[in-house]
Structures are given as structure tokens and as C-alpha cells.
Symmetry: C2
Subunit: 355 residues, 2 copies
């Protein structure tokens, strides 16, 4: 029996020789369905591409890297799934690299990561994506990258980016709490290395100001984007002589910690305390009561970022891909669930009764 | 000023030329601390390796792939972190690839993934790792791999593996519930493609049998490893004419669904209903009450699996790495938290009162 050839594969899969060759060489320009048909034909015929020919495959690496330093597993998975979706569309592979954002050698380490793994480019998440000197150092080393950052508007310079208006969304959450009658609203910060943390705090402060509520510095507690810091922060707030009637955690992990602290203190959420988070993580839907939060569309944001990067890489490789390279903004949307309710006029009633 | 040489780097970093060369060529045999020192010296001197020399770098690819098809983000992150830890020890990179375990072309797709991305080998998770025909097809294509599987003992054949005794751990959880006085214990299955699901069910049945409790098929509900199936399954169980007093969800996501179903029905957990999960995910610690579960050590399991794979790859590459290649077993450990409590003799009391 003669050895099957590339022509046999093309006939069986009902595609051109060029398409078979593209699949074998993993060029990213083949549709998923066509690719599957070709792979199927290759399997049925037991066709083996000439190994020498395979070794001549394109030298362009079609793998990108995702770099993160974030304590929140749900957030990482969301970002990863978004980047993977963009990779799947285009036939790119994804290598992941957690890093220590405080390392003094970060630029060297990341450039080495790119070179060693022959990556075509990087998706940089916060806080790395928000450090101009790191971006400059990577660009100077020829690393192609896209940034996911917190910002109210397109920064308009530097490598491509996707920006998320955390400030506006935090304003909306705070406004929602104020409209429920809350005046003393606690705020638990996220990690200060993340610009999202200061942006969310700015949205909180602006809403208080616009509604004529004077900020009380005892109601704002520093911390990281973690459950433990949410738990600890809530306990500090609830121990105040005049505790808040609502607590806004800078992400859902923090809010989960607040919820646990409130319940362990025997409080009934939302009647004794309203709680809001930020992110719309699976936890926010699965907790009881489910959490009021801001839906962040993490997957879409990351997918769009990876698309921007890949479009640029393909332009460089083929100089013919007609994809526009616009930075894109996202604003998380308020999602109201069972963890927030109108303030209970407990003190007022108590006063009336004792009068 | 003369261009810095590799010798300058070696002197500044106080290491041998060979070590500098190893770092530049990313050979996996350099300790982390040494690697950092060399990178630091390279940065300080602004040393640039001869690009021609760099292109002659080892043709051996030091990247492995992690393949998964699992609906549970916490589980994926746990596995990923374990594999990344082993990669970090050894200088390997990690590419990730979600897949559709039901695809009829899975072997072709995975082999193509390995070839396209020039991966040295794969870490296969369940359910892919538990399908002998897939393992055989990949091995026939020369793909090096390690399997993470559910099994009570070392299978003793095929590629290296790490095996997790889910049956024994599920027995322990069921025994814990029985010892609290529960006789009617609901069981919510995980996805049937995963051997862990049938293993956990077998442990549940064995414990009932050993304690002389006859199994009731109405108490066992099929489903997937998801929150939604936990919620739905719990509602079915709680609607039974004689509902269970405890529910064992096959993983923590399922148990989270049970918790939400119980609370939405106004039940007080654990007094009205005991709930146990499996995995020791962050949710199990963060929910209220926190969940009794089996601590699965997902990161350690995955780390050990990746170590096995990398040890084998290095033996192949250098034929001198003195690392033993033993398969290793893990047994998840019972962790008792607030979601399980002694059965409340509600029916008995009610009868006595009405008599």
C-alpha cells in the first residue's frame, strides 16, 4: 500500500493543499471547523507529514504569555479563560507565568521568560501593567505586550491596552447604598499596588461627596484583595463605637470575608448589615445571601486584550491583517442581589422608645 | 568602553562560565538563587549574549503542557499552581490547554498541541488521564506524559502517574456523618466521566454497608461537579417525603449549591441539615458555616505529578539525573468544620409531643 500524501488528505477533507499545509504548519489563519476536518482526515489516513518538512515550519512562534501576580484565584481563572478564548480563535498557544511584582529584577525576568520560551508577546495584568518604568524596560527589550489596566479613560500612549473604569463602577455601588438610606458606609481597600484599589476608593469618596456625606477616615481600612483582610477589616469596623450600617469590600473576596465576620458575630445580612463586593465572581452568586457587586466581565476584558495583542503580532508577521488596533474601555455594571437592603432605623427607634 | 563579556558576568556573579552559559541557555539545572544572581549581573553590566550563539541554544524544549477539562475553577487553579511550583524548581515553562474531553479527535488534537508548541511532555488530568485508549494513542505518537488519576492503588502500568484514593476519603466523610447519628444521608454524584465520581460513591456505599444502613436509591442523585447541580440535587432530596438529614456533595462546588438550597428553603445549617463537601477549596473555608470536607492537597498532588514528568524528561535529555521515578499515592483527609452536626431527633420529638 502506498503511503498517503498531502494530496490524499486534501481530497478527503475537501480543502485545498494550501489549507492542509496551513494546518500542518499551524498557521493561525485556519477556521476551527476546517482545522478539525483536516485533522480528522490525517487521522483516518494515518498520514504522516514529512518530518524534514515539518522542521522547516515557520520560525514565528505562535505562543503568547500571560503574566500575573494576584491573590484571587477566580480573577486569575477569568483572565486566563478570556485569553484562552482569543488564542483558540487564532490558533495561538498560551504559556502562563505567575511572578512577584515586587522583584527588583522583574523586567529582566520577564524578558528572559519571553526569550527562553520564544513567546510572540505578553498579556500583562495589574499591578505589572500599571508600572510605566516596567513597560518602558520591556518595550526597550523588544517585548511586544498588551496591558490590562484600571483607568477612567484611554491613556493614549504606550503599548496597546484595555482599560477598566473601576472608579465609575465603585461610584455606582456607593450610590446604591446611599439610596438605600445608608450614611455610614465602611470601605475596605484592596492592595495598594493595584491602581484599581485607589480608583475604587476614589469612586466611593466621590459618591459620598456628591450626596453631601462627610467622609469618616475610621470607616476606610487598608488591606489586600483577600478574604482574610475582609474578615479582619470588617471586625475592626463592627467594633467601632458607631459602626457602619453597610460595608463595601473592594472585591468579592473581601466581601466574602465581611460576610463571614458578620455571620460569625450573629448578624443577619442584609438586615443588620448591608454588604457589597466588586467583580461578580462565582462566590458572589453562590454565597448566601448572594452579593451585590459590580459585574466586571473579566473574561471579555482579557479576551479583548489578547485579541489586540494577537492582531498586532499578526500585522507584524503578515503585514496584511486588516484588524483595527483600538484600545478599548470597559465599565463594570452594578448587580443588585440579596446582600444589600434599606438601612434599618434601629437607633432612631430605640431613641423614640426610650423617650 | 569595551562590550562586557560572559567572563565579566561570571566574575561579578561569582560563578563559573559554565553556570552563566547555563542560565543564558536556560538549562534547568541552575538553582533559583544562582540564576537570580547571574541575571542581576547581566542586568548591571548590560551584557548581551551573542545573538548567533543564542540561536544555537539547546533544541530541547523546556516547556510542558497542562491539559484539563473541568468545570471547577478552584480545582484548575490548584492543579495549575502545583504544576507551576514544579516548573519553577526546574526552570521549565508551562503552557495550558483546556480541551473537550468528549471530542472524538482528542488524541490528534493533543498530539498536535504537543508538536505545534514543541512541548516536552504533558500533565494529563481527569477525565482524560483515566481513558486507557487515549493514553495508548498519545504514547503511540511519542507524547511523554504523566497522569493524575483517582485510584485506590498504583495501577502499575502505563506512563507514570499520581493516584488519589478518593474512595477511602469518601468513606471517612460518610462515617463521620453516621457517627453524628445520621442514617438518611443524601449523596450528590459528580460527572460520570471522572473516575473520582464513582470512587467517591463507592466509598459512601461501603461506609453505609459497614454500618448496617441499607442504601436508598432515592438518596443518590446524578449530576456534574457544579454549584447548579448541587442546588438542583439538594432541592430534589429535600422534597422527598422522607428527606435526608445530611447531604454529602461529591465536591465543594456541589456542597455550596446544597448550602444555598438549604438556606433559600429557610433551613438552619447544620441544625436542620448537615452538609459535607470534598476538596477543601477556598469556598469551603469562606462559606458560612464553613464546610466539612476532605482536604485534597490538589497543589501537592499536581506538583508531584509534574515532578515525575520533569524527572523523566531530564533523564531522557541528560541520561544522568538520579531521581527515582516512583508513582505516588495521596489520600484526602477529613476536615470537620461547622456544616455538620449531630442529627436532631425532630421527628421523634414531634411524635412524642403529639402522642
Amino acid at each position: 500500500m502506498r503511503r498517503p500524501t498531502i494530496k490524499d488528505v486534501a481530497e478527503r477533507a475537501k480543502v485545498s493543499l494550501k489549507t492542509v499545509s496551513r494546518v500542518i504548519n499551524n498557521e493561525p489563519s485556519v477556521m476551527q471547523g476546517t482545522r478539525a476536518r483536516v485533522l480528522h482526515a490525517i487521522a483516518e489516513l494515518d498520514y504522516e507529514p514529512d518530518p524534514a518538512a515539518r522542521n522547516l515550519r515557520s520560525a514565528t512562534p505562535f505562543v503568547i504569555g500571560l503574566v500575573y501576580d494576584n491573590p484571587n484565584p477566580y480573577h486569575i481563572i477569568g483572565v486566563q479563560n478570556g485569553v484562552l478564548a482569543a488564542c483558540r480563535e487564532t490558533g495561538f498557544g498560551l504559556q502562563i507565568q505567575p511572578c512577584d511584582s515586587t522583584s527588583p529584577l522583574l523586567a529582566e525576568e520577564l524578558a528572559e521568560f519571553v526569550q527562553r520560551s520564544r513567546l510572540a508577546g505578553l498579556v500583562l495584568t495589574a499591578p505589572m501593567s500599571e508600572r510605566p518604568e516596567l513597560i518602558a524596560a520591556l518595550s526597550a527589550r523588544g517585548v511586544q505586550l498588551v496591558r490590562i489596566i484600571a483607568a477612567t479613560e484611554d491613556p493614549g500612549d504606550g503599548p496597546p491596552c484595555v482599560y477598566v473604569d473601576d472608579r465609575d463602577a465603585a461610584y455606582e455601588i456607593t450610590e446604591h447604598l446611599i439610596q438605600l438610606g445608608h450614611q455610614r458606609i465602611g470601605f475596605l481597600m484592596g492592595g495598594m499596588a493595584h491602581r484599581s484599589s485607589t480608583e475604587r476608593h476614589a469612586g466611593y469618596e466621590q459618591a459620598l461627596k456628591d450626596y453631601g456625606i462627610s467622609p469618616d477616615k475610621h470607616l476606610v481600612i487598608p488591606g489586600d484583595y483577600t478574604f482574610d483582610d475582609g474578615f479582619r477589616g470588617a471586625r475592626r469596623l463592627l467594633a467601632l463605637r458607631e459602626p457602619p450600617t453597610a460595608i463595601f469590600g473592594s472585591n468579592d473576596e473581601i466581601a466574602a470575608g465581611v460576610l463571614a465576620a458578620a455571620k460569625s458575630a450573629g448578624m443577619n445580612v442584609p438586615y443588620d448589615l448591608s454588604i457589597a463586593g466588586f467583580e461578580d465572581s462565582p462566590f458572589s452568586k453562590q454565597s448566601w445571601p448572594p452579593l451585590t457587586t459590580a459585574k466586571q466581565a473579566t473574561e471579555d476584558i482579557a479576551k479583548q486584550a489578547a485579541r489586540l495583542l494577537i492582531a498586532r503580532l499578526r500585522q507584524d508577521a503578515y503585514a496584511d491583517t486588516p484588524i483595527a488596533l483600538h484600545n478599548q474601555g470597559f465599565t463594570p455594571q452594578l448587580v443588585v442581589r440579596g446582600s444589600t437592603a434599606p438601612v434599618r432605623p434601629a437607633r432612631a427607634e430605640a431613641k423614640t422608645q426610650s423617650a
